[in-house]
């Protein structure tokens, strides 16, 4: 029986894993540091964190999920589109729903 195991296909090199690992850690620690030390004002802080989140997303896809390496990328593309729709819904929807908070406070 053919199990679908990651071991069978060769994915990425050790260097690319390490680069991805370091980058993702940096992109996690940096926002925390910015928040803890009050380096930026509110709007700038939010924008920066959002950008780093988007970068983090890309790094996960490229370095760990091997988005470019599938033979048949059809499912992948579909999954990514669906994922992006959901992310936008969750983030955008939550922001929209929570706007009333600023109105009532």
């Amino acid at each position: 029986m053919k199990h679908i195991e990651s071991r069978q296909a060769s994915h990425g090199s050790t260097t690319s894993y390490i680069i991805g690992f370091v980058l993702s850690i940096l992109l996690t620690i940096l926002p925390l540091w910015l928040v803890v030390n009050h380096v930026l004002n509110r709007t700038a802080l939010i924008v920066t964190i959002m950008i780093m989140a988007a970068l983090q997303f890309l790094i996960q896809l490229l370095f760990f999920m091997h988005i470019r390496e599938s033979e048949k990328p059809r499912y992948n593309v579909l999954a990514i589109i669906l994922g992006i729709v959901f992310v936008i819904t969750i983030v955008g929807g939550s922001a929209w729903i929570m706007t009333f908070n600023s109105q009532v406070q």
Binding site: M1, K2, H3, I4, E5, Y75, L82, G83, F86, T89, I90, G93, S94, W96, I97, M98, T99, F100, N101, Q103, V104
Partner: protein
């Protein structure tokens, strides 16, 4: 750091119910150990069950665990209904009542409905698509044990440390440290966290299995509808569960590390928790209903002896439901007052979901129309489901009218609505599935007479219990109240409701009897195809051998097994003689079990904020993962001789 909880917090004392539970748990444990030792079954238990990676056995373990949890959740329900049967009773006092509805809700959704769904997926999917196992058998075992130990962690809270009491939704600020300093809510957070990892892995596992492991010739549009429903469910799981994981993590950081994500002060926002919870919570209710839809499609088709009416529209409506399910979550908190724009959007999106659901109902009816209907037990559950779900759906649409929801919200009208869809939909669906695939799992049918008793009692009990609650909701009775006075005028309807609950309890006992009786006297299934089924699982002997298919079948079009049988009857079936080949098969492994024990230890440690114990548990988890990554010898080949022997024995030739 001085530990917050000391041993003196450990055992709860003073309550006879809990004392009773302590004693019965103690006795049960001693008895289990005694029986296992006396019959020398430890090794058997370990080798055959605890370390198995066979999807069929994992499915059976899910069934057993889920039925036990149904019992626990049911006892909770009966306690609550006893307390509410008449005004001013003192069976449960307020604090205890809060704990009971919280554990009831959490257990029923996460530790009863979910594992029953997973049970059906595990038992059926590989057989239905002509595969020898799921894509990741080892991960599958991890999923099961994480669910199991997550459930055990929550159940432990009843006797050790105290149960959570902030409802199954755990809304802050009530679930925050300020109002809930005990370990109860930690139990809730960590139990959900641990079992949640398992659920997510199950979603991934079955998505890959269905996309990648279908047998030769089976295109997506040839798949049985249950397989389609599991595909839709898996997508929902993958997109929804990460949200609850993050939400619980943030709540835990608030409680454990003094963060302020959801507190009322320091910039926290409790409403964000509610928002995030339901971003997961609404898809979750579809996760537990879609597989039931799939089962109903299989059952109506087989027991009407017709192909499913409108297969394509069934598939499309299923996928649409799973997509729309992400865009309706605000209907759970219209009363938060997010403004007319938000409420209107989500009211309309909720109503739209009713359309594909309605399509499915008509398709089931039209499948039965003019069919040769056999009223077997699975078919009975399906027929009972349709009106029940129609009423539940209609009251759901009533709730989705945002301005009207200000009246219904958190009343017994809501309680009646969601029990109607959860019991009439999910639970009836799983009963249909269990009775339908039972012979495939165990090799014997369940007794029809006892099954009918259980069926009628469940239905009578259900309507008696929940129909009065719609009225009670209109009469102003709100959910989560533990008592009320005679002056409210609620007493008669509540009494009827409680009687209905007792009838459902009796129905459950009939099911236990049905199973026990059938183990001994049930009709044995010697053909492997007791219902004259349509799909591939019925082409195998019951129970199927561990490798499922000695030779992988090749299919052309839908209802493959039905077509084969027809061809055989006509006499133009040509059997392709295929050489047997050795089968590549995963070895059993103790790691999933051990890893989950470590997760349990970590969860228990963090519940009591004993950091050393939590760290120890996590260290164990890490070691298990590392050990596994360096294991290369993880599978073996089943030899052709062994396959021949097994097949001959199964066909009674030995």
């Amino acid at each position: 750091m001085e530990p917050k909880f000391k041993i003196s917090h450990f055992f709860i004392h003073g309550d006879p119910l809990i004392l009773g539970a302590d004693v019965s748990i103690g006795i049960a444990t001693v008895m289990i150990i005694f029986v296992l030792t006396y019959f020398k079954k430890w090794k058997w238990l370990w080798k055959e069950w605890l370390t198995t990676v066979d999807h069929k056995k994992i499915g059976i373990m899910y069934v057993i665990a889920a039925l036990l949890m149904l019992f626990r959740g049911g006892v909770d329900a009966l306690l609550m209904r006893t307390q509410l049967a008449l005004p001013n009773l003192k069976v449960l006092l307020s604090e205890h009542y809060n704990e009971i509805f919280t554990t009831h809700g959490t257990i029923m959704i996460l530790f009863m409905a979910m594992p029953l769904i997973f049970a059906m997926m595990n038992i059926v999917i590989p057989l239905q698509i002509g595969a020898r196992d799921v894509a990741y058998p080892f991960l599958n075992a991890i999923s099961f044990w994480l669910f199991f130990f997550g459930a055990m962690l929550l159940n432990l809270s009843f006797v050790i440390g105290g149960s959570p009491n902030a409802g199954w939704v755990g809304y802050p600020p009530l679930s925050e440290l300020q109002f809930n300093p005990g370990p109860g809510e930690n139990f809730y957070v960590l139990a959900i966290q641990i079992s949640g990892i398992g659920s997510l892995a199950t979603g991934i596992n079955f998505l890959v299995t269905i996309l990648k492991m279908r047998t030769k010739g089976m295109r997506l549009m040839d798949m049985p509808l249950f397989t389609w429903s599991v595909l839709a469910t898996s997508i929902l799981i993958i997109a929804a569960f990460p949200v609850i994981t993050v939400t619980m993590l943030l709540l835990f950081l608030d409680r454990f590390a003094g963060a302020h994500f959801f507190t009322m002060t320091h910039g926290g926002d409790p409403m964000m928790y509610i928002n995030l919870f339901w971003i997961w919570g609404h898809p979750e209710v579809y996760i537990v209903i879609l597989p039931a839809f799939g089962i109903f499609s299989e059952v109506t088709s087989v027991f009407s002896k017709k192909v499913t009416f409108g297969y394509t529209s069934m598939v499309v409506s299923m996928m649409l439901i799973s997509f729309y399910a992400y865009f309706t979550w605000v209907h759970h908190f219209f009363t938060m007052g997010a403004g007319a724009g938000v409420n209107t959007f989500f009211a309309v999106s909720t109503m739209i979901i009713a359309i594909p659901t309605g399509v499915k109902v008509f398709n089931w009816l039209l499948t039965m129309y003019q069919g040769r209907i056999r009223l077997t037990e699975p078919m009975l559950w399906t027929i009972a489901f349709i009106p029940c779900f129609a009423i539940g759906g209609a009251t759901g649409v009533m709730l989705s009218i945002a301005p009207a929801d200000y009246q219904y919200h958190n009343s017994y009208f809501l309680i009646a609505h969601f029990h109607q869809v959860l019991i009439g939909g999910t639970v009836f669906g799983m009963f249909a599935g269990l009775t339908y695939w039972w012979p495939k799992m165990f090799g014997f049918k369940l007794n029809e007479t006892l099954g009918r008793w259980a069926f009628w009692l469940w239905n009578i009990g259900f309507y008696a219990c929940f129909m009065p609650q719609y009225a009670l909701g209109f009469m102003g009775m709100t959910r989560r109240i533990y008592t009320y006075g005679w002056d409210m005028g609620w007493a008669p309807l509540n009494l009827i409701s409680s009687i209905g609950a007792v009838i459902m309890g009796i129905a459950f006992l009939f099911q236990v009897w049905e199973i026990a009786y059938s183990v001994k006297y049930g009709e044995r299934d010697t053909t492997g195809d007791p219902w004259d089924g349509h799909t591939l699982e019925w082409s195998l002997p019951s129970p199927a051998p561990k490798y499922n298919f000695a030779v992988l079948p090749e299919v052309h079009g839908r209802d493959a097994w039905w077509k084969t049988k027809e061809a055989k009857e006509r006499g133009d079936y040509e059997e392709k003689k295929q050489e047997l080949e050795p089968i590549h098969y995963p070895k059993n492994s103790g790691i999933p079990f051990i890893l989950s024990v470590f997760f349990f230890i970590a969860g228990f440690g963090f519940t009591f904020e004993w950091v050393w114990m939590g760290a120890l548990g996590l260290l164990g988890v890490a070691i298990c993962l590392i050990v596994r990554s360096f294991q290369y010898d993880t599978d073996y080949y089943i030899s052709v001789d062994e396959i021949k022997e097994t097949e001959a024995a199964l066909r009674g030739e030995v």
